[in-house]
Symmetry: C2
Subunit: 339 residues, 2 copies
DNA sequence: CTGAAAGCGCTTACAG
DNA sequence: CTGAAAGCGCTTACAG
């Protein structure tokens, strides 16, 4: 039984001790005689007393809240990250305050201020593109933060990500080694900020290294949604024929497969389609999607752990790049099999 | 600029007024002379003062926190519900405290207690099956709550859901009207509790009403995951042949389509597969999935609104059943087309 | 319109 | 080992 109406005073009175003593047994902060302790414990059990975290937070200057600000919880990529974050936060006695911004700057700043107001001890922050308003905010905020997929030279905030340059390089090399020549890419330049620039750079350089020429007609932007992948793929394929198409997120890649199929392409016989992220649906799609696996759960978990370390006053790494992995499935194929 | 180190005292000193006056202009709670108000506003702007919500919450007995306890944020069904909840909570000045239980009772009770400790003003609660431990907890808790997909006769807690009996009836009638005779069902008896019982009852009665006999070999349990749908479908189809298969959630239905395809069935030519929930992926799967649409976003939004109404002391409905809708797509087909 | 004081429910030096 | 007191940062009667 619990009863939040009961205060430390009630417990003290019932146990016949002072509130100081009650506090000491609750927190095990100073020695208390066995007898007094027992009486306090009994009183707590009988009354259903629970310490008020608001009051405790006020004096301790600790809310045990970690904020999580992300674009969209309904996107499985973010959902997996949140899951990892929640698990670790919980493990260390923190609670996750979830904020969905839909990538709107106003909402982001509003939520950032909210974190300050709520005295959040820490923050995991994700957004599409780090803007000057974000940087300004973080410059004079003192909240312990970890970014995911965001990097700023001006800010001394650690970040967790994968090595996007290498990941895209591997993806393109893989497609090239499968015999593809005309390789298109749909990427989201306003998502993940300079990580996407890295991805574009990796794409260009991988082509170059294999003597393939860059054709801007087969590279286009696309948002982080099934719909966008669907629409943009139709646009691209209406314009030019490609052997293979890399999407920089799986959600869009699923839209792309639908689009290609509707346009009469067989995947992978007529066109190889490759994603990025490896969300859980990708393995079950038909055809199952070749993708670059991002350790999303771990990214959320590690970022949260870094926040907690900072709260504890520990030193943390400036940047952690978690391992990615190319997962080969049915949506891509070797050209030699492809008469 | 914001600075959480600044307190109301600092602002008062700078503005040359008492903290009472500062409080009054912040909250617009009592008349303050224009001149004093201006000085306070200036001081706030200059210092970057933000009221400490912990302190305010302590005296007002209001945390502006709404808890959201769900099984699994990584499941898109729950993610969509959370999205609706977050939107409404935010709109009314509340913040969502997200808790992932994986359906474990211990975690659920732990989180429930946490909500009390944090002085959460309200709570949206979901779990597979309402157990006596839950009921006991809610019986002597005073937190304003709304259930989603849960019903208890013993508790006076409102709930939001859809009419599951009618939804399944429509689904089965639809399959029967398409000419299917042997219709299997995979349902999750430990999820959504008596809602699933309703679904089973609807299934049986719909068959009966059309003179079809109930065959327990083609009805089985399955969990709320892709993997489970995949495994259970293989089991079922290895045992018996069916014309059509209804899964009571889309995630499992996607696993089922994969399983059926791997076993050499063409969907829908050899077997119609139908889901339930209509998550966003279902429209893009190949073949796209016929399903019963649940208004998940609205369910989260309405449940949260009901919590907020209760906090405001308003009367709320005991039960709100939101409209569902059968969405016909490619994974089901009329038998007549099916030579 | 304004301020001093009490109080929200805790923790923690301080003195014993 | 124990308690009275001060204080965390606010709000709000109360008195003027």
């Amino acid at each position: 039984m619990i009863n939040i109406k009961i205060t430390i005073k009630d417990v003290a009175k019932r146990a016949g001790v002072s509130i100081s003593t009650v506090s000491r047994v609750i927190n095990d902060s100073k020695p208390v005689s066995d007898e007094a302790k027992q009486r306090v414990l009994d009183a707590i059990k009988e009354t259903g007393y629970r310490p008020n975290q608001l009051a405790r937070g006020l004096v301790l200057r600790k809310s045990n809240i970690i904020g999580m600000i992300i674009p969209d919880i309904a996107n499985p990529y973010y959902a997996a990250i949140v899951e990892g974050a929640e698990e670790i936060a919980n493990m260390y006695g923190y609670t996750l305050l979830l904020c969905n911004t839909h990538g709107e700057l106003d909402k982001e700043i509003e939520y950032l201020n909210l974190m300050a107001d709520k005295q959040a001890d820490g923050l995991v922050f994700m957004t599409g593109k780090l803007k000057s308003e974000h940087v300004d905010w973080f410059k004079n905020a003192e909240i312990k933060t970890c970014f995911i997929n965001l990097y700023s030279r001006e800010l001394d905030i650690p970040m967790v990500s994968i090595d996007n340059y290498n990941a895209v390089t591997e993806a393109i090399n893989y497609l090239i080694s499968n015999g593809h020549v005309k390789i298109g890419m749909l990427y989201a330049p306003d998502v993940d900020d300079l990580l996407q620039e890295e991805r574009l750079r990796a794409y260009k350089e991988a082509l170059k290294n294999h003597g393939h020429e860059f054709d801007e007609d087969v590279v286009s932007e696309c948002r982080f949604s099934i719909e966008s992948g669907y629409v943009k793929t139709k646009e691209l394929l209406n314009n030019k024929k490609v052997d293979a198409l890399l999407l920089t997120n799986d959600v869009a890649a699923i839209g792309a497969m639908k689009a290609a199929t509707e346009m009469g392409y067989r995947v992978p016989e007529d066109i190889s389609i490759m994603g990025f992220d490896d969300i859980s649906f990708s393995a079950y799609y038909q055809p199952s999607l070749t993708s670059i696996n991002q350790p999303t759960y771990d990214m959320g978990a590690v970022a949260t752990r870094m926040v907690i370390k900072q709260i504890a006053g520990e030193q943390v790494e400036k940047m952690i790049l978690l391992p990615h992995k190319l997962v080969e499935r049915e949506s891509t194929v070797k050209m030699s099999n492809n008469i």
